[in-house]
């Protein structure tokens, strides 16, 4: 799957071969029997899913099917919702992601998140990327500059912003803002990157730029991406999980889910018969 990384003319759809045996790759996160409620409404029913390390897992399904809820449990963003609760287990190595005693702050440093709408802080571009490192480390100005440059290069936005690092981040275009948010997320050095419909507010060109970025980042990070865009899931993920009404209907290698789905609902959804 690394063979065509160097040929830029390659169609993104063919980049990921999809014939890797995902069960043999080590797991980054293992979710088992996860049930989740918002108040009395059960959003997730008995979810068990294995997220392979340094691969891209796409969560697909119609709106309200629980894929974002799963994402928000993995780095505990659901803690901000007082009525949210969950049973079952989600583990990253030995770390219990759902335990009350888990250090949520450290957990979120290790599991970064990029949201649907680009949400840069009303600060400069530099300050946005430096924000995370400054939270966790006492670093010198030059170390900070190194981290910012590294993260912006990694997020493929360096060339566009290097001459205006101290300009307001809100002056960037939507696609640039989203890549800035990705740079901000990787600047704290996470192991896992969660992306909640990162391209839904962007135009096709920016979407393609982000997809290229995801392809590059998967060499180093475990990525979980929620998307409504079937082509996107097909183009840039190794594993696809299909959710429907709070249940995990089917999960498997992306190629297999798209070409040879095991369930009727999956087939209907990926072929565009509903959803």
């Amino acid at each position: 799957m690394q063979d065509n990384a160097s040929s830029p003319d390659q169609e993104p759809a063919s980049r990921i071969q999809g014939d890797v045996d995902l069960s043999k790759t080590p797991a980054a996160i293992e979710v088992a029997n996860l049930n989740s409620w918002y108040g009395s409404f059960q959003a997730l029913h008995d979810i068990s899913l294995r997220i392979p390390a340094k691969h891209v897992t796409a969560l697909i399904g119609p709106s309200g099917c629980g894929k974002s809820t799963l994402l928000r449990w993995i780095n505990r963003m659901n803690d901000t919702i007082p009525t949210a609760r969950a049973t079952g287990t989600a583990k990253m190595g030995d770390l219990d992601l759902l335990s009350r005693s888990t250090d949520v702050v450290d957990l979120r440093r290790r599991i970064g998140i990029v949201f649907q709408k680009p949400n840069p802080f009303p600060k400069t571009i530099f300050e946005n990327v430096a924000f995370g490192p400054k939270l966790h480390m006492r670093c010198t100005r030059s170390q900070l500059q190194d981290v910012v440059q590294w993260a912006l290069r990694k997020a493929a936005v360096w060339d566009e912003v290097k001459d205006r690092l101290h300009a307001p981040a809100l002056g960037l275009s939507g696609g640039q803002q989203q890549r800035l948010c990705i740079a901000r997320a990787i600047a704290v050095g996470p192991e896992v990157l969660l992306m909640d419909e990162p391209c839904s507010a962007l135009d096709p060109a920016s979407t393609l730029a982000i997809e290229d970025l995801i392809y590059e980042l998967r060499k180093q990070y475990t990525i979980i991406i929620v998307t409504h865009n079937m082509q996107q899931a097909g183009r840039c993920s190794d594993q696809t999980a299909f959710f429907y009404e709070g249940r995990l209907v089917e999960a498997g290698a992306t190629k297999q889910v798209f070409t040879n789905p095991q369930c009727k609902e999956t087939e209907d959804y990926v072929t565009g018969k509903f959803g």
């Binding site: 780095n75 963003m77 901000t80 007082p82 702050v105 450290d106 957990l107 979120r108 440093r109 970064g112 998140i113 949201f115 709408k117 949400n119 840069p120 802080f121 009303p122 600060k123 400069t124 924000f131 995370g132 939270l135 966790h136 307001p168 981040a169 809100l170 948010c181 901000r184 997320a185 704290v188």
Partner: protein, 405 residues
């Protein structure tokens, strides 16, 4: 709603009478005109108010009015002590209200309760703040009188005005020098015996500045030098004990002092500051908080680095409005300070005080026309003090508000 066939629905929609475009345009322009008219009325009222004050007050404006203490003669009377009283009380009030108000708003908005008891507690705070915002300010005056001036009689007999716990009060033995100056010698207390006068012993003048005294025996000649004569004293001079307070004088209960006045004004404006701070914290998009939390920020880091910087302009606007209210407030301070004749600016937190609205109230209530005129001039000065307080707040707001949005 009844379930009706689509055809019938379509028909009934088509039968609905159309609103004519021209009548809608007329309504729109009428409403626009009403808005302009009401705005013009409020501007006109302001102009009339300012004009009448200026016409009445400007001729009486003078340097003496600013620099003199109040007097029985309108031509001699000034507002100096009241102006300093306002600056002390309102400055202190702002310094105390802002942190307490913002911290309360942060508690309510940024730390949602997780337990049932927490929910009751939050509800109780919220209910209290909403109720307090509607309480007439004179009621706060009575509350301040019991809570701050006498402190429920916890530290002293409420009928005895003398404080029972104090710190920074000095007793001096006062002598008059041969050059007619006061010489103050520190002694242990009001009942201390007359100190023995020794040449060059530590002593103070009336303003409590250290001086050197020159003690001579009875029958000795006066010194020739005027400046030495000013602090020359016979060793057998008579004097008496006087109490004096230092700038850090503190006592319990607070008594009718600056601190009690500032705390009472704080009660008056705290609900306004809290409610406006809550509003501006609520208007910070939650996506910013989520972004910071997602990077592994603690709730405190989110508040300090993201929420507060975005909310500061709104918080400062609310604070400016409430400070204007505090500066103009007379009723609660009338109860706290009592109707007394103050000739000096406050020199410590426990000192007696009066404020500009009280002084204006006093002058405006007198029958002589001269006093009516200087009341008008004092109102102009009050407006100037008010605008300078607001200018400081606006400067702070602009300093904190980075042009990045």
């Amino acid at each position: 709603m009844k379930n009706r066939p689509p055809a019938a629905i379509e028909q009934s929609i088509q039968r609905a009478p159309k609103r004519s475009t021209s009548s809608r345009a007329t309504k729109n322009s009428t409403f626009h005109a009403i808005c302009i008219a009401t705005a013009a009325v409020s501007v006109a009222i302001l102009i009339v108010l300012l004009a009448s004050i200026l016409i009445q007050g400007v001729p009486s404006l003078s340097l003496g009015l600013i620099l003199n203490p109040p007097d029985d003669q309108a031509s001699q009377a000034g507002i100096w002590p009241a102006m300093w009283g306002t600056i002390w009380v309102c400055g202190l009030c702002g310094l105390m209200t802002l942190p307490i108000g913002v911290a309360t708003a942060i508690l309510i908005e940024e730390f949602p309760p997780r337990t049932r008891i927490g929910q009751y507690f939050h509800g109780l705070i919220q209910l209290n703040i909403s109720n307090l915002a509607g309480v007439p300010s004179i009621v706060y005056g009575i509350l301040g009188l019991t809570a701050f001036v006498t402190m429920f009689g916890l530290f002293s007999d409420p009928k005895n005005p003398n404080a029972s716990l104090e710190f920074g009060a000095n007793t001096y033995y006062q002598f008059m020098s041969e050059g007619d100056r006061s010489i103050m010698i520190p002694v242990a207390g009001p009942d201390a015996p007359r100190p023995t006068l020794v040449d060059q012993m530590p002593a103070y003048d009336f303003e409590q500045n250290p001086i050197r005294i020159n003690v001579i025996e009875p029958g000795d000649p006066y010194p020739d030098d005027e400046s030495v004569l000013a602090y020359t004293i016979f060793s057998d001079s008579e004097g008496g004990p006087v109490p004096k307070t230092s700038w850090y004088y503190f006592r319990l209960p607070f008594g009718r002092g600056v601190l009690a006045g500032a705390l009472t004004l704080m009660l008056v404006i705290l609900p306004i500051v809290i409610i406006s701070s809550q509003e501006s914290l609520r208007s910070v998009p939650s996506s910013l908080r989520a972004g910071a939390l997602g990077l592994g920020a603690t709730p405190w880091q989110v508040i300090w680095h993201v929420t507060l910087p975005s909310a500061i302009p709104g918080i400062m606007t609310g604070s400016i409005l409430s400070m204007s209210r505090a500066i103009g407030e007379a009723a609660p301070l009338l109860i706290i300070s009592g109707v007394v004749f103050i000739r000096q600016a406050p020199s410590n937190l426990m000192d007696d005080f009066t404020v500009m609205p009280l002084q204006i109230f006093n002058w405006a209530g007198r029958p002589q026309e001269d006093f009516q005129d200087i009341a008008g001039a004092a109102i102009i000065l009050l407006l100037i003090v008010l605008l300078s307080f607001n200018a400081v707040a606006v400067l702070i707001r602009q300093k904190l508000q980075k042009p990045l949005s």
